[in-house]
Amino acid sequence: MAKFVSLQEGIEEVLRDGDQVSMEGFTHLIPHAAGHEAIRQGRKRLTLIRMTPDLIYDQMIGTGCAEKLIFSWGGNPGVGSLHRLRDAIENGWPHRLEIEEHSHAAMANAYEAGAANLPFAVFRGYKGVDLPKVNPNIRSVTCPYTGEVLATVPALRPDAAVIHALRADREGNVLLEGIVGVQKEAVLAAKRSLVTVEEIVEDFGPRNANAVILPSWTVTAIAHVPGGAYPSYAHGYYKRANEFYIGWDKIARERDSFLSWIKANVLEKGPDAFAQYARPRRQAAE
């Protein structure tokens, strides 16, 4: 059963130096507060896994948390480059970053296979492209019925998954809604998981019979961190802070301005720094 913890306790327990970690969220519900806490706690030698390593991983890479990145699209959505990611790959700052690169289809299938406890995923992809030449983990199997050769990727089975969700109930069940991405798969594929939530409710009340819910016994720990997805968004609570994404380009472009920003906004702050972005359910988004 999931236990309720503070964000600090949750990162201490769930995320360890050297872990393979998935901090997922497909534009929606990106666990920024948890990422900041990992930076504050000085996590090292992480293998960061994420389909779309955006600002949260730019920050973790720039502060030296990561030794490897497994990803499929590394940019600032709608804005441009992730400068800290580029600086690490192009110039090895703050240190060398190994990369394992896939397509979205491959990563999504790899999470699905991980959640399904399979060692690999099969899909129709990577036809005619160069990525298999530089990623030895892209292989193939032959269909035993048709003879067709299909692409494979190893299942993702992270040590830790860290996600942000809308609500938990008192039993520790976790509800997601809206753009749900690969978060459910990431948690089910991981050995340990931390879920930060906007809100803790007595029970979920009337809901669609097929609502996206992670049962309490599939989650390690839950921390109540209102606003914890900012500058990403929480459907029905608050909107995406597009201006922050645009502003990040300037902050992250130079090492100095990046480090100053991290000092002032991460190292000298605590988890409750995110509370200012929280909004009551169903008011901000409508």
Binding site: H28, P77, I89, K127, V182, E185, E243
Partner: protein, 256 residues
């Protein structure tokens, strides 16, 4: 009404879309073109964003492929693994839109890296959905602004497959989809030659010369025998597109 080259590009792309199309939409020009089509001649068009939103009808353009607006106006939203398995790989998408940092004469695209992969000069964002969009959609429309560093003789890295090294290469790989059928730029529209699959210019945007187009391309460009002029944007097209951008700016508080 006068118009910008980018507006012409978006409008030319939007005209290629029909009511019956099911489009896998990327951010930027493709998103503007698809929504312009939906708000003008193709109100029944189905738009799908890779974040999982099916049949979405945004009133403003999203800044990212996962904006809340897309989900709020969608028929429903599915998990990302399902999107790539049941919907994209499922073969249900008629049109995929792609852009890229670089394109070659056979409409292969690079969005991965400039220079050596292991010691890159410029590290680009990577493929994202593109490799499988390029192979699994019925056909591909590419939108890119021209320039000799974007339209290049040789790609350093093939992120998504167009027509390889020429006609028949897709079939050799077992691909049954058409691949890129149109490249819509800020200066012209190109299409693969039916015989060779090499891109050739089929229409020049109003006021654009062959020389201007060639200047924006790193290989000697071919022009179709029946080269035409792209019809200028209509007042309605411009009005709807500018309205869309104005609403978007207001909603995001930014230029988009």
């Amino acid at each position: 009404m006068s118009h910008t080259p980018t507006e012409m590009m978006t409008i030319a792309a939007s005209r290629l879309l029909t009511n019956d199309d099911i489009c896998f939409v990327g951010i930027g020009a493709p998103s503007a073109a698809c929504n312009l089509a939906r708000l003008t001649h193709a109100p029944g068009i189905t738009l799908i964003y890779e974040s999982g939103t099916l049949s979405t009808r945004p009133s403003v353009l999203p800044l990212s492929i996962g904006d809340g607006e897309l989900c709020d106006t969608a028929l429903t939203t599915v998990p990302v693994p399902e999107m790539f398995r049941y919907w994209l790989q499922g073969g249900r998408i008629t049109i995929g839109f792609l852009g890229g940092a670089q394109i070659d004469r056979f409409a292969n695209l690079n969005t991965t890296v400039v220079g050596d992969y292991d010691a890159p000069k410029v590290r680009l964002p990577g493929g994202g959905g593109a490799p499988e969009i390029a192979s699994n959609c019925g056909q591909i429309f590419i939108t890119m602004a021209m320039g000799s560093r974007a339209f290049v003789e040789t790609l350093p890295f093939i992120t998504s497959f167009g027509h390889g090294t020429g006609k028949g290469d897709r079939e050799k790989l077992g691909l049954r989809t058409k691949g890129p059928t149109r490249v819509i730029t800020d200066l012209c529209v190109m299409a693969p030659d039916p015989e060779t699959a090499e891109l050739s210019v089929i229409s020049l945007h109003p006021g654009v010369t062959r020389e201007q187009v060639q200047a924006g391309c790193g290989w000697p460009l071919r022009f179709a025998a029946d080269l035409t002029e792209t019809p200028a944007p209509s007042a309605e097209e411009l009005e709807v597109l500018r309205g869309l951008h104005a609403r978007t700016r207001q909603a995001h508080g930014v230029a988009a």
